[in-house]
Point group: C3
Chain length 147, copies 3
């Protein structure tokens, strides 16, 4: 386990605009408020999105499931940390549609999304900088113990 | 993008009672602790709920999907801000059932829910007041830049 | 309604290792940082998991749905509080797979999970201690008003 304590609770709240690319928009917010480590949460809706899952057997991600058209963003949960020295977003999303026949819900690792509306909160972890490095046990880039 | 920084981390934690109307119960907590802008998260279960999705083509919400009977509330994520001068909740929920045949998960914009149990956290954003106004690009009532 | 205000925003951030038992790992983090009441959030992936739902008619939980193999942990939301005098985790999870045929999402009350990767945040509520006791209206062990 890697675990550190944070005592300062700075947060940035806001929304992205229709047409914004979700990852780029949230990274812009991180840059504007100098957030290098933190947690991201949002609700809203997207007009297109791509989700996927990691595949331990191949050490890569599966071909993405492309969701076309309007979907509610039921939950967006993730974090920001440094990868190759730059702020990097790791985001998981649940996207859903409600139709006369019922509902469909698709969840996974969010690759990209075009925003319809997005109301977000980014909690800054200002007392530590978490960096991602290749983790041999999983093949993923995971946090290493801060120095 | 609209984004503001908050440096005060007041939060209210608690639970609603069986039979409570979810939105009314959380608004009561906001009122009791004077929260006009903030973020809401909860887990629990509901005995009835209605979810829907926005429909950009018509500018309204689709007919609700009514979920009868006991459902686990896998996630409740949302926020509180002012609409027409009053605290207004925007909530997204994922509701699920586990049956001998498998599981069913329904996610969307939460219209109403009757609480079986609800353990909640409301983070107050005390340094800003976010207000909703009609956003021409989407047809939704979205946050405007605080004055 | 039971509701208390918390003004201190201590949090612990970190990750569990591949092979860790999820509940035991998070309880270890709570113990290391002396967290008896708080909120837990995480994303990641699991290699096995069991979810279930409560059944009001019987006052117990349904036979678990056992999810074998790799699943993305789309969301993990929950809390820690005292039950029988010890830190107890109440966690809800959404687990998903993306396949060439589409996606599958399973949500519910998380009984157990074997971690592939888990990036977590635990918010400590240091100004109050919430304790669970049997709640006659539901048959669940729910928070009572702190003394």
């Amino acid at each position: 386990m890697i675990a550190v304590e944070s005592l300062r609770g700075r947060r940035v709240v806001g929304r992205l605009e229709r047409g914004d690319e979700l990852h780029a928009g949230l990274l812009r917010a991180c840059e504007r408020f100098d957030i290098r480590t933190g947690f991201v949460r949002a609700i809203g809706a997207c007009e297109a999105a791509e989700i996927t899952q990691f595949e331990p057997e191949t050490g890569g991600y599966r071909p993405p499931l492309r969701l076309e058209g309007f979907h509610e963003l039921v939950s967006l949960n993730g974090n920001v940390s440094l990868r190759d020295g730059k702020p990097f977003l790791h985001l998981h999303a649940l996207l859903a549609q409600i139709t006369p026949e019922g509902s469909a819900a698709h969840g996974g690792h969010l690759i990209s999304a075009r925003v319809f509306a997005l109301e977000f909160e980014i909690v800054a972890i200002d007392d530590h900088v978490l960096e991602r490095n290749r983790n041999p046990a999983t093949g993923l880039a995971l946090w290493q113990q801060p120095g």
